[in-house]
């Protein structure tokens, strides 16, 4: 063996031993609190080993990536979207595109099962599922001139599979926007500081938009730098508003008012030109997002906080107060994006492949950036688990479950074995600059408290309130970006559909059509947002599982397309690489959907909940304010039940379409062949 080879095996051998030791440390640490450093080290070693060996094997054997093959970026270079770009720059672009609120909220909620189940699925799901999906989708797209996943579904399956993919995308977009909007609204409710800061981001984005379009066209770094400074000022100014008796009343709004405000905002943002609000907001959110991820990683690694959550809690039996359902399948549904995210397939096909200089770069960009995204999920999980478990449950459980007043809520949570006192919560809320932290569902406040305590111990306890509101601003900024961008994408899909009925409605610039199709899209997510706000159990417990099922469904569709392409391109013996995660996702979504539809437990089944609430209403045992909203909640539970059934039907349509397409190919050579762009040798050095 050459000395280089020996060094290589020594390095990777050491990483494997360190990783195994970290897992050993976690496993053997019974009864005492575990240090977050163990989790970080174990996770890092798993990602590194998987990247080095599994993605290397997929690149070399399964896909046989060819560095001499010219990519679409080279063949179709146009100085705009097709552009050969350095792989680390593409990595940064792609990571910024896939990183969102999902991997922050999902692990926060899943912490109700303890830190271990969430941690394990984030790792296993990502290295065997999510990263593989992103890499394979990117591969299929790069061999097809950067086609999108929807178009590939049409080409490789049939028009049935293609239509199912398009319908799934629109529906998921609506659920996604609703759930994220609910997270922001819940974080701002009765918090003048948060509300002011989040509101201030809108004029700041507009200011940056004008700077970039009128004053200094295209000087993105200058504009962003000004915007980021103003955002930080807005966080500080929020504190002044909070302490000013005359100003705070203006921003002390309830969830109802805020929900209507967010809907109005979404409508305006979808109609305004992109340069004024959407594009500058996106520049700002990307910067803030990357900055916070780096900061959080540094803080966790340097400070190594103690994990206070037990490895596994009693709630794996399905009685969890934050969301219902057993560990299987609801852990996987809840974590969603941090492990496998169907949404990534939309970005991994289309935009990113048009930038890759060499095919071999897609190992770093596809597999690598998802591994990084999953590690953000691990950080969010750590931020939830450094809180006292009692505090964690007090923040995240709705008043409908534990009671509205502090004494009842703390007594209930303490009776579960997670001691917490009203005084402790009062003190915590005070130090975070909030009136109360009870029942602040949605995941954002709990993550912000976790991040503030980590940052606070690193950079000074007296800044806790500042860090808390900085974390809220950070989440709100990119959630609102997804809300703007998603409403816009929805608007275009609706306009296209309208265009089939009336030609003038299909013209994307015709004003009545713009307004009407934006209204339809906003009404779609606005409905779910409104129901989430009036739900006494917090809303997130209904909406998040629905979102998780939808997201995993989209991942199943992407993996079905990829599996069909693997089979049809002579890679049949490696079809399990995408086939196994596909089988797992189909199992998880099917079991979860069936439980959500048919379970007789009103906490779990949508129809059972509707029935239960209806009989309570009929018996007259509901409190007056609950009886008032009950008919809406009953209707919503039934609607959600039917929606879940629809999702389930979609996933099976696509899977059967895939099976049909593969069977046809295997039956006769040449039948249902796949369409790759022909080989062309690269001219790049």
């Amino acid at each position: 063996m050459s000395s280089k080879r020996i060094r290589h095996w020594l390095t990777w051998g050491t990483i494997a031993v360190v990783g195994a030791a970290a897992f050993g440390g976690i496993a053997l640490n019974r009864g005492e609190s575990v240090n977050a450093a163990w989790l970080v080290v174990a996770a890092a070693c798993v990602y590194l080993l998987a990247y080095r060996f599994y993605s290397g094997w997929i690149a070399a054997r399964v896909l046989a990536l060819d560095a001499t093959r010219a990519t679409p970026a080279e063949c179709l270079e146009n100085g705009r979207d097709f552009m050969p770009t350095h792989r680390w720059i593409v990595f940064g672009h792609h990571f910024a595109a896939i990183a969102g609120a999902g991997p922050l909220v999902g692990p926060t909620l899943a912490a109700q099962f303890g830190f271990l189940p969430g941690m394990l699925w984030l790792l296993v799901g990502a290295v065997l599922g999510g990263c593989v999906q992103d890499m394979l989708v990117m591969f299929c797209s790069i061999r097809r001139n950067g086609r999108g996943i929807g178009q590939m579904a049409y080409d490789e399956l049939s028009s049935v599979g293609g239509t199912a993919a398009l319908v799934a995308t629109l529906t998921i977009m609506i659920i996604l926007i609703a759930v994220l909007a609910l997270v922001v609204v819940k974080a701002m409710a009765h918090s003048p500081w948060s509300t002011f800061t989040v509101f201030a981001t809108i004029p700041i984005a507009i200011l940056v938009g004008i700077y970039l379009r009128v004053l200094r066209p295209g000087r993105v770094l200058e504009g962003t730098a000004i915007g980021v400074v103003l955002l930080l000022l807005a966080v500080v100014a929020g504190g002044w508003v909070d302490t000013s008796p005359s100003l705070r009343g203006w921003f002390d709004l309830d969830a109802h008012a805020l929900a209507w405000f967010v809907m109005g905002y979404g409508l305006v943002a979808a109609v305004l030109p992109v340069w004024l609000l959407l594009a500058p907001r996106d520049y700002l959110s990307t910067f803030v997002k990357l900055g916070v991820v780096v900061l959080l990683a540094l803080a966790v690694c340097v400070l190594a906080p103690e994990i206070k959550m037990p490895p596994i809690t009693r709630f794996i039996d399905g009685t969890g107060p934050i969301f219902s359902g057993k560990l299987f399948p609801f852990l996987f549904i809840t974590l969603a994006c941090g492990a496998i995210s169907g949404f990534h397939a939309l970005v991994a096909s289309g935009t990113t492949p048009k930038l890759l200089t060499r095919e071999t770069d897609l190992r770093l960009v596809g597999y690598g950036s998802m591994a990084l995204e999953s590690s953000v999920g691990v950080l969010a999980l750590i931020a939830a688990c450094v809180l006292d478990p009692g505090v964690y449950f007090a923040i995240n459980v709705g008043a409908g479950v534990v009671g509205a007043d502090a004494a009842t809520a703390t007594a209930t949570i303490t009776s579960w074995g997670f001691p917490v006192t009203a005084g402790q919560m009062q003190h915590l809320a005070h130090s975070m600059g909030e009136q109360t932290l009870f029942a602040r569902t949605g995941g954002a406040p709990s993550l912000a408290v976790g991040m503030a305590s980590i940052f606070g111990s690193a950079f000074g306890e007296h800044l806790l309130a500042m860090w808390y509101h900085f974390a809220i601003m950070f989440e709100a900024v990119f959630i609102l970006t997804v809300l703007d961008a998603g409403t816009r994408v929805g608007r275009f899909i609706v306009q296209e559909a309208f265009g089939k009925v009336s030609a003038s409605f299909g013209r994307t610039s015709w004003y009545p059509s713009v307004v009407l199709s934006s209204l339809v899209t906003v009404a779609g997510w606005g409905y779910f947002l409104y129901i989430g706000v009036i739900d006494p159990n917090g809303g997130i417990n209904i909406l998040w599982p629905l979102f998780g099922i939808a997201n995993q469904l989209l991942a199943a569709i992407a993996l079905a397309v990829v599996t069909a392409i693997l089979v049809k391109s002579g890679r049949r013996k490696y079809a399990w690489v995408s086939g196994l995660p596909l089988a797992w996702l189909v199992t998880v979504t099917t079991v979860a959907s069936l439980q959500k539809i048919f379970s007789s437990d009103p906490k779990l089944g949508f129809f059972a909940a509707a029935h239960d609430l209806a009989s309570q209403l009929a018996a007259g045992v509901l409190a007056p304010e609950r009886a008032l909203v009950a008919p809406k909640l009953i209707f919503n539970q039934q609607l959600d039940g039917w929606l879940t059934a629809f999702f389930l039907a979609l996933v099976w349509v696509v899977v059967l379409d895939m099976a049909r397409s593969c069977a046809r190919h295997l039956a006769g050579p040449g039948a249902a062949a796949t369409r790759e762009t022909p080989y062309q040798r690269t001219q790049l050095a």
């Binding site: 350095h86 295209g218 910067f287």
Partner: protein
């Protein structure tokens, strides 16, 4: 500053500009100069506006959950 560290800073600055999209216009001009010298390039302001339109109104979703 030594030549090495100056070079490092220049590369970091270049990476930051590429990541943020600050250098898009220059790259577009480069592309036209090498591949289509006969084409009159757009002004910086027009290029910025048309890029935003392409990215947000034609390319589909570019941001995830």
């Amino acid at each position: 500053m030594s030549a090495v560290s100056r070079n490092l800073w220049a590369r970091l600055w270049g990476a930051l500009r590429s990541l943020s999209g600050d250098d898009r216009y220059e790259r577009y001009l480069d592309h036209l100069r090498t591949h289509h010298p006969e084409v009159e390039p757009l002004t910086r302001a027009r290029f910025y506006a048309s890029e935003l339109e392409r990215r947000w109104d034609k390319d589909g979703p570019t941001r995830c959950c």
